[in-house]
């Protein structure tokens, strides 16, 4: 029979998520309202729901008794990941203000058209926004493969639609279709992996799976099926974190989607994916199952992750070198950063995982800052894309230029910005785990990345404006710029609280 207390506890810890689902329903209805004020209030309501959810997270995880009894592989992931998801979610919501339905709202304002619910999609957009965040948050509470799968898909499915409706252009729809199909392929892959994991252990519950693996390891080594399953699952989930070989969609999709959505894509699914990978690996553990006398992940899995990490950071950085489009460049940079993140995953619990979580925060803030600059600017209502559009930005919009420079420097890992501390903790974790070659490769990659990040610093600050960049203007809505400034301030100020921010 059902253990009611355990079930109540499960629900207790997802109360913030339930609250956000309610928020999604509320905003989806608000978006259909005939009153413009109500429609315009949608992002505000989203931010309010997220802020309350943050308080809620603090509250539900403040319950020490329940937290002690919770049946999760890594309960400590929850509060930190959920907090940063909600906090950065608020900034991302600010980016998206005025993004959706702008032509429609303009024509409504000028009286050229009457309101028709079927033509509006602002409500949906923000509802999906919240649902995707909920999915990512739920990943932290997964204790079985089915929950994990559903949470991952809840993260991804809304993003497909967000990409499609983010801007009225064929490019966005093309991107959405690609994203959807490749996402489905990846889902099939990790689902197959899940099936093999179930087949090799006879359970879908992660904690039980851990015990089963421990038993296998104590016997004659891990089941071969389990290793295949684990590798397939990890590779499939690495679609979410845009790691090699599942990274192909990134550049096209990031370029096709509107900048605020791109910022979202680069952070939320990545967070969900990395947490999922950590949970999956948590079942085999970092104590060296299958490799007697050795620590770390079981060897085949370690080798796989090692290769993925190296290939991901290298391909990401190398790919970025050739880009002329700022968004494609940031897409490749997002790939490279996933490679860095995997160092922490390889290093394992303690320093490694802490570094990963801290890096997620850092990456979320600096990525948001960079995309916020792109979101805050336009040329005749169109997004700016090319790097050349940023040339000499300082002369026209000095604040945006500085934010872009700070974000790029932080992405590069320039001390004392937040990105530096993130990368620093990852590398320290790598060194502590005795993965020197990996750390060296990461450092070489960092050096390569300086080439293109410094272009992002130099172009806005040092270059002279060109006729093309002279035609850049602000977006009419200021919130993206406000978000940019907030994120940049975060990059500069948060390092002061590094000790408090480390999980």
């Amino acid at each position: 029979m059902v253990d009611s207390q355990a079930m109540l506890d499960k629900v207790w810890f997802i109360l913030p998520e339930i609250w956000l689902v309610i928020g999604a329903m509320v905003v989806s209805m608000m978006g259909l309202s005939g009153t413009r004020l109500v429609r315009d209030a949608v992002p505000v309501v989203v931010c309010c729901f997220l802020a309350v959810a943050m308080a809620g997270i603090a509250w539900v995880y403040g319950d020490a008794d329940r937290l002690a009894g919770i049946d999760l592989l890594m309960p400590q992931l929850g509060p930190y990941v959920k907090m940063i998801l909600c906090a950065i979610g608020i900034v991302l919501a600010m980016l998206s203000v005025g993004l959706i339905d702008r032509p429609l709202e303009d024509s409504l304002k000028s009286g050229r058209a009457r309101f028709d619910p079927i033509r509006t999609s602002r409500g949906e957009f923000f509802a999906f926004f919240l649902l995707s965040l909920v999915g990512a948050m739920l990943v932290c509470n997964a204790n079985d493969l089915i929950w994990l799968f559903l949470a991952l898909e809840l993260t991804s499915l809304p993003t497909y639609i967000m990409v499609a409706i983010s801007r009225p252009s064929v490019k966005a729809q093309e991107a959405a279709v690609k994203y959807f199909f490749l996402g489905a392929l990846a889902a099939a892959m990790f689902l197959y992996g899940f099936a093999l994991l179930y087949g090799s252990t006879g359970t879908v519950v992660l904690t039980e799976m851990r015990d089963a693996f421990a038993e296998q390891a104590a016997g004659d080594g891990l089941n071969r099926l389990a290793i295949v399953g684990m590798i397939l699952a990890v590779l499939g989930v690495s679609f979410k974190i845009v790691a090699v070989p599942m990274h192909f969609y990134a550049a096209d999709v990031y370029e096709g989607a509107a900048s605020p959505v791109t910022a979202f894509l680069a952070f939320v699914p990545k967070t969900a994916g990395i947490v999922a990978i950590i949970l999956l690996l948590g079942t085999v553990g970092w104590s060296g199952h299958g490799a007697p006398g050795a620590g770390g992940l079981p060897q085949p899995i370690l080798v796989t992750l090692w290769m993925i990490s190296v290939l991901t950071m290298t391909l990401g950085n190398v790919g970025a070198l050739l880009q002329r489009s700022a968004k494609r460049l940031l897409a490749y940079s997002s790939i490279a950063h996933s490679g860095y993140l995997l160092i922490g995953v390889i290093a394992g619990p303690g320093m490694g995982i802490n570094a990963v979580l801290f890096y997620l925060l850092a990456y979320g803030v600096m990525n948001t800052a960079a995309f916020a600059v792109l979101s805050g600017l336009q040329r005749q209502g169109e997004e700016i894309e090319s790097l050349d559009d940023l040339a000499g930005l300082r002369h026209r919009y000095p604040v945006m230029a500085v934010v872009m420079a700070v974000a790029a420097l932080s992405l590069l890992g320039f001390p004392p910005l937040l990105g530096f501390w993130g990368k620093f903790s990852l590398l320290i974790a790598g060194i502590e785990a005795h993965r020197m070659p990996l750390v060296v490769i990461a450092l070489v990659n960092s050096a390569i990345s300086a080439w293109y990040y410094l272009r992002l610093v130099g172009l806005p600050i040092l270059a002279m404006p060109t006729p093309a960049s002279e035609s850049i203007t602000h977006r009419p809505v200021p919130w993206a710029r406000v978000a940019a400034v907030i994120a940049a301030l975060g990059l500069v100020a948060l390092p002061l609280f590094v000790n408090e921010l480390l999980p």
């Binding site: 690609k178 392929l185 892959m189 993925i308």
Partner: protein
Amino acid sequence: MTLATLAMLAPRLAHEFPVADAAGPEWAAWILWLPALSTVLCGMCAALRVRNKLPAWITVSLLSGSFILTAMLFAGYEQPVTIHLVDWFGITWSDTTFVANFAFYVDRLTLLWMLFVTGLGTLIALYAGEYMEGDVGAGYSRFFAGISVFLFAMTALVMADNLLMLYLGWEGVGFASYWLIGYYYRKPSAVAAAKKAFIVNRIGDLGLALAVYLTWHAFGTVQYAELFAAVQANDFSAEAGGWSVQAIPFLLMLAAFGKSAQLPLYVWLPDAMEGPTPVSALIHAATMVTAGVFLLCRMFPLMVLNELALPVVAWVGGLTALFAASIAMAQHDIKRIFAYSTISQLGYMFLGVGLFTTAGAAYHVFTHAFFKAVLFLTAGAVMHGFAGQIDLRKVSGLRHMPGWRVTSYTMLYACMCLAGVPLVTNGFWSKDAIMAEAFAAVGPGYTALAIIALVTALLTAYYTFRVWFRVCAGPVHYEPGLEQHGDAAGGAFHPRPPRLVINLVLLTISAGAVASIFCAEWINGMIEGSTAAGGLPAVHEAHEGAGVWSDPHAWMPYVAGAVGLVGIAIAWYLHLANRTAADDLKRALQGNVVSAWLPRAMENKWYVDELYHGLIRAPLWLLGHILNLLDRYVLDMVIVDGVARIPRMLGRGFQPLANGVLQSYAVSMVGGVALIAILVFVMPEFLEMLNGWIGGAR
């Protein structure tokens, strides 16, 4: 000094002083924050283009607040305390920690230094408010922001509770010094001097950085309280760490010699006189240059890690004193003379530290701060009044001119202090403490050193009074300098006597100088209760015959006083009574083939700048150009561009994969997964190889 005596001393030393183990009052943090606030406010004045004396008043009031707080801290002082301000560094990995917070370590040494730093800082800022009035609206805010930065950094340096914060302050005062020497940034010589000061100081800073690192390496902490506790508990061994522990005192020494302008790193200080005169008085005479002495006093327990360290300090100090004094004798620029005298007097202080008489050294620092500040401020007043004239041959009879009486007589008193006129001057007593110790102490060649110190005292008295007799005494005549004041444009030049504020500041500091005569016992007490408690008597050899001559402390006042008076008498003869005699003497020396080099070499500062130029700068210049060519043609063209091409070529190689076609993406993804699966499962040998390289086994 032999190893045996040191081995006897070290543990004794280590148990002499109390180490902080309590927390001090929170409000003391404002001693540091007030100058910082002042910097910010002056910066805002600069941004808002304030056109009045507001920056000066901000600085003076906030610095005086800092002084009052320091005095309150002193009044309430009972035992060494630490005061925590802000967490700064707190890194922990494995079982190693590196903790360095913004925190104060307050003991008597800290308080002694802070009292005169903030006190003189306030007075000199007051003076500068008047002195810099020509720049109101232009560089005025920048100037006071620089002064505030300096005071902030100096406070951090002196009050720090760990070596890292000390290092921050150390770099900070170096930066402030650079900022203020280069204050007249349109003047090429000022910019060059600023750069020279900065670069020469970097050599010393390197020493300090290495010393901090090695200290942390050897003792596992850079926090004074823990460090001194470790030293007190004899929880270290000079031999255990090998050369790295023994290197610490020498690295500290290097740092101190750089900051305090000792041989061979003194060359920046005379050039630093390009800065405004209040800066010379505050930074390059009274406070910053004593940071080196402070460093050695603060780290005194570490100075015994190598038995040769302190004798080296003593010898470098003694030789610098003589060397700088000999240069000062032949200069004509008043500020430069005082700069060389500063170097010379700093040499005395290091001599004192080297001879274990830290109390004497600290006393000399204290007295020197007062009289040297007065000397510079009076020189500044002359410069201010005579349109930048600073050549002692071109101004004469100052004391007979109306309005210059205070300047002349405060300068006279300061000169007397520097020359060591017996009984009534503080310099006499403080210098005496060091010189007597030089005769009393036993060590390698210390007798020679003592004689050098005595000769230097003679030279000092001579060159000091050379200035005063030339400038303040004698017949009235003057030539204006090159700076044209508005009022001099039309008619004849009229000197502008200093105003009330300047006179008040001069009198106040002179009074401080007089008061400091009676501070010897107090400073002894201050040093005894601090980390610099090396003021224990140096090892004296037991003298057989009793009587006055057996104890140098007993006869030294007479000898030193006599030497000082002789020096003054020579100066009087050559530069007042019979001014042509000096020129005759010079001509006679130059006429003689054997001695002709002497005056010329002294005038040209023993060609040290030229020597450095030839030995260090020219080879570096050549090397730089060779490396530049190498860099441009070999590194850049072949290696950098070549290597940089590799990632881009890789990128081009992978580009066809990113062709934007959905199906090919899907195929690539599945192919990638398949490839990884094959690599992992079909090629176990590959796995073994890769695994060995990755370092799978810890």
